[in-house]
């Protein structure tokens, strides 16, 4: 197990390093950033000074070496627009994004698992059909459109909830529901199919035959076994939710990392883009790492490979 963990840590470090390099070259691919960040009518001296100040006058490999060595120390330079450190801007926004992603994850687990369990238990009933229909629809609706429709219904027409901004529980309801929709559909569908598999097993039949109450068959014997594959799906979904949060945050003007990143992309504020993307890749890799360890812990076959 220790070998496995060490191997996975080494792998994760390499991945984050490569991801950082890819993003650096991607951003530099778009040409000399100075041209984009300095007004077109600026005097040539200001242009040169800006290039020197940000190190753009050095050859690309030197820029790369500098970038890697300073980013390892957590320094991505100053935001070009805000004149504060890019990393501090990103860290400032992280809690809001985490809050949104985690609450959406919790909401989807709470809603999806009962739907999936009931759907599987009452297979082909009306409830099951409604449940399956809901999951199919939920996976086809793009989250940004769902967000717009929810804003229209709850903020414009009935004026129950605020349409944008952050800070209170009321502000979080709509973005959370929007972000959770896709995961609810995915989890419910997955729970239903794994539960169907488990419910066919011999030990469930034995439990039924021996008169065990339905509720304890479902919760104690069936769901417990169906939960292992579900757990992997849930922890991987957290990464997807962080990605989805980028779009949902823009729709609802939620003050998180996604919005910061979008603004930075629109304004070509590269230090902020690099720092933001680095943190997302880092979080993503950590989630994958934890999922793998968790899975290896539960299923010994994996770590013996």
């Amino acid at each position: 197990m220790v070998d496995f963990i060490i191997k996975r840590i080494a792998q994760s470090v390499i991945v984050v390093f490569l991801a950082l390099s890819v993003i650096f070259f991607l951003v530099r691919l778009s040409g000399d950033p100075t041209v984009l960040m300095i007004p077109a009518d600026a005097p040539p001296e200001q242009y040169e000074e800006f290039r020197k100040q940000h190190g753009f006058d050095q050859p690309i490999y030197m820029q790369y070496v500098n970038f890697i060595s300073s980013s390892i120390q957590g320094d991505f330079g100053d935001s070009i627009r805000m004149n504060t450190s890019a990393v501090s801007l990103v860290i400032e926004r992280l809690p809001a994004t985490f809050q949104l992603a985690f609450s959406a994850l919790a909401l989807s687990v709470l809603i999806a698992i009962p739907i999936g369990v009931i759907s599987a238990y009452r297979r082909n009933s009306l409830v099951d059909r409604l449940g399956v229909g809901f999951t199919i629809l939920g996976q086809a609706i793009p989250n940004f459109w769902l967000g717009l429709i929810l804003i229209y219904l709850f903020s414009v027409t009935y004026q129950l909830l605020p349409s944008s901004g952050g800070g209170s529980m009321m502000h979080m309801l709509l973005p959370m529901a929007t972000l959770a929709m896709h995961s609810i559909a995915k989890f419910a569908r997955f729970t239903r199919s794994t539960m169907l598999d488990v419910l066919r097993k011999d030990y469930i039949r034995t439990a039924k035959a021996s008169g065990t109450p339905t509720s304890s068959i479902l919760m104690k014997y069936a769901l417990k076994n169906a939960f292992i594959p579900l757990l992997t799906l849930i922890s991987l979904e957290l990464g997807t939710l962080l990605g989805g949060a980028v779009i949902v945050e823009v729709v609802f003007a939620w003050p998180g990392l996604g919005r910061l990143l979008m603004d930075a992309l629109l304004n070509r504020d590269f230090p902020v883009v690099l720092a933001g993307v680095f943190f997302i890749a880092l979080i993503y890799t950590i989630i994958n790492f934890i999922t793998d360890i968790l899975y290896a812990f539960i299923n010994p076959q994996i770590r013996l490979q």
Binding site: L18, I23, L26, I149, I151, Y152, V273, I280, A281
Partner: protein
Amino acid sequence: MSQVSVEKRILYKTNERQNGKVVSLFKRLVKNPFGFLGFLVILSVCIVGLLAPIIAPFNPVETDLTKKLLAPMTEGHLLGTDQLGRDILSRIIYGTRISLLIGVTTVLFAGLIGTTVGVLAGYFRGWVDVVLMRIVDVQLSFPFILLVLIINAVLGTGLKNIMLSLIVVGWVSYARVIRSEVLAIREKEYIHSCFATGVPQWEIIVKHIMPNLFTPLIVLASLQVSTFIIAEASVSFLGFGVQPPTPAWGNMLNEGKNFILSSWWLITFPGLALVITTLGINLFGDWLRDELDPEMNQNR
């Protein structure tokens, strides 16, 4: 009987069997209400896209400020007009073309690149495989949509660039699936006998491995189409991707969101078009997967 005529006869019989397969697959499709519904939706979307110039009641880019923000069903505008007086229905009809173009071409190219890389990695293993798997790992360390967004932001907006960014990000999932399929096929006995009897490598790959990849490829591609269509719409909605005045569902929603307080139809109809299309593709894709690959069936 000569060798050639025997081969021809075998070939003929296989063709006949293949045709029979397609016909019986279609018969099963007609019997499955959801799969068939999905098929009909896809068919209608394709027809609408192809016949856009004939069906569309107005010019989708013609502005008329005297007719801006007309509600649906007024002055011959079935779904109303937008902030520049352009007919929403016509813009949605023309937007179909963008979504179809994105869905089909990106999946095709991503599939082509991904399959090539996957086959090479799975068959030759060694450094090709190592490099591929590291690329896969790096791509998996970013959320899909974020990577598409960043590449698009770097390359610049526009239809070509959004297609390019989707292909660059999308081929990886094909490469992964095909690689693992090839790894499994490579260990089959009939491939080992090919090695033993000295069949050339390209022949092993083309004749004995590739035909087995058809099913996973079709299944993956049918499910990827809707993912890519939604991704394009999301990126265009965020202001990158396809730019106005070119009508695309994503940028229509982006422009429409500014008028959410007064004109609900601007955000409603392009979104509905998007949902109906992806729903159709998903229903058909689910059915196809269940038919071709019963082991993956989620709704047993």
